[in-house]
Symmetry: C2
């Protein structure tokens, strides 16, 4: 069954005053008159069982506001001729710094009660890439991933070795306490109680945060800049109550993160194990490059057919070298947003 | 420039008595009469600047003997109807246990003087996969990778978390001292001296082991079993003097290790960063599945063209669902071997 993308209609946010000087056109009338910019960006903030009524109106507004803030920050960089790499990092850092999303501040807890963060970035122009996994003291893992890409001979660094490199490079380190949030801690306690077979009372009524057991939290961004360069970035705190040492798809180049100017850029969110086994991000780009599919067809085939057949829940954001955007998800909802080639902004949570 | 595969001619080993009851035909005459078995296996033991004259005759015989032993162990399993998963694990364990190869016993040292081991395995029938990175006390990392695949809900586990899982599962742990070998220690001292700008005397004349600064050590195996199932396995100690925490392509599903019954199975060895950025193993399989190339064409395009253009040294072993084998390498040499569908054995080190 084809779901999701075919049902997604543009949701045009009322123009919010965010103090940015480069607000893209936010209504259809303006967009039709506006010249094509050949720049575009898409972001996500996790996928899962996110239904209308799960969030208080204030919480929903907060999620939408933060997604729009991240989008506009990345887009502003693209508009002034900046690189897609800078744009995706700017967008992801905003989501990492927000406790609303499972990345950076607000990361979920492992079964040991620790926060272990993973991130990756890839430059579609050079195929340079950087990834970190299992870091516990890095405020913005995406910035460390970029440093691994640009200032080390390596692509992937993990654990204490990655943190030693961060310290050398002057990347901001924080006390692990920085990552503590009450709602993530409560989610771990619920998960542990459930594991122990104890009765677990789900939070009742609309919440200020999506319960973690209902979503696969990851944040990510993909962008096309004025120079025709694609980039992808992903950052995550993993899964609530995951075994310590478990690594998902986010930092795996080709699985959760991939960019190649010859095909597309993809950032994924979902049940990471399925995304690794299916090499999801690279598979979508291979279907575009070798399979002759459009970006939307390729993303749908992987997310809405292959993953659905296997029971692999989640979604992706993808952009091709023409600035086409696809954001399919097979879960009930996915925090997501985009500013397309026509400058039109879209922010969504549910199927709409 | 196309090199390597076009120059590879079969090198038929004299039949060695290895105490195995299931010796495949070891000469062309016998092979021509033998029925096709629809089973096949290929292995590698690292690629790099390995030239004739680098090794003493005794050392060369030891390398060839161990490669053949690993091949025959895997092949024996396939011959009696066993699974390709069992076959690749059996072959890789033999190479892990040998100090000749940079995996398990004989792993190279990090810049900290530790041994950090990575491994991955993938089942082409189910796309199940398991990977471990940065483990220091696991005697056979490939066996732990298989346990992650079969007995955990995860695909990838790293560091202390992976070792805690190993202990729970009764996987054999050893004192880190087990991995010490004098020749690897000496190689680290040479690498450190070189890094410090001190004069370094390369070992003179033929050696008992390939100097580590001349090769990218990894071991791996791919196989097709009688049930039509493909599998791939890779194990490594990484790069001599690597920063601790660095992870190469071996444990990255899609990069150093990949198997899919619909296309092929690949295990890679080489400068890992290039193999991650190019998602080498999955790229080869995508070129077969979507690009319409034969296995040999696909493997050549990636290893002999794309990687060569980028300066990415190394090679792969690959097998498709028809049992075709390709083993291209763009380095001077690659320890490798295969037993093909006709039961013919081949073991090689240099271009021949």
């Amino acid at each position: 069954m084809q779901r999701g993308p075919t049902l997604i209609h543009r949701f045009l946010l009322p123009a919010l005053t965010l103090g940015l000087t480069t607000a893209p056109a936010a209504c259809d009338a303006t967009a039709q008159d506006a010249p094509r910019r050949d720049i575009a960006i898409a972001i996500h903030g996790g996928a899962g069982t996110i239904s209308r009524g799960d969030l208080t109106p204030e919480a929903e507004a907060a999620y939408r506001g933060k997604l729009e803030e991240a989008l506009r920050a990345g887009y502003a960089i693209l508009e002034r001729g900046g690189s897609s790499l800078d744009a995706v990092v700017a967008a992801v850092r905003i989501l990492e710094d927000s406790p609303l999303f499972n990345a950076g501040k607000g990361a979920v807890f492992t079964s040991e009660g620790t926060n272990e963060l993973d991130a990756a970035i890839m430059d579609g122009r050079t195929l340079a890439a950087g990834a970190v996994a299992g870091v516990k003291r890095v405020k913005n893992p995406i910035t460390l991933a970029r440093a691994v890409m640009e200032r080390s001979p390596h692509v992937m660094m993990i654990g204490a070795g990655a943190e030693a490199f961060a310290a050398e490079q002057g990347i901001e380190l924080v006390d692990p306490e920085y990552f503590f949030t009450q709602h993530r801690w409560d989610a771990l306690q619920r998960a542990k109680a459930q594991e122990a077979g104890k009765p677990v009372s789900e939070p009742k009524g609309p919440q200020a945060f999506t319960p973690d057991d209902r979503k696969y939290g990851t944040v990510g961004a993909v962008a096309l800049d004025r120079h025709g360069n694609l980039a992808a970035a992903t950052s995550t705190g993993g899964m609530t109550n995951k075994r310590f040492g478990r690594v998902g798809d986010a930092p795996i180049i080709g699985a959760g993160t991939y960019a190649n100017n010859e095909s597309c850029a993809v950032s994924a969110t979902g049940h990471g194990e399925f995304f690794i086994r299916n090499v999801v991000a690279h598979e979508i780009c291979a279907l575009v490059q070798y399979g002759g599919l459009s970006l939307r067809e390729a993303a749908d085939r992987v997310v809405m057919q292959k993953l659905v057949a296997q029971g692999g829940e989640g979604g992706v954001i993808a952009i091709d070298r023409n600035g086409e955007i696809a954001m399919p998800f097979n879960s009930e909802g996915m925090y997501r947003g985009s500013i397309d080639r026509d400058g039109r902004i879209f922010v969504g949570i549910y199927r709409e």
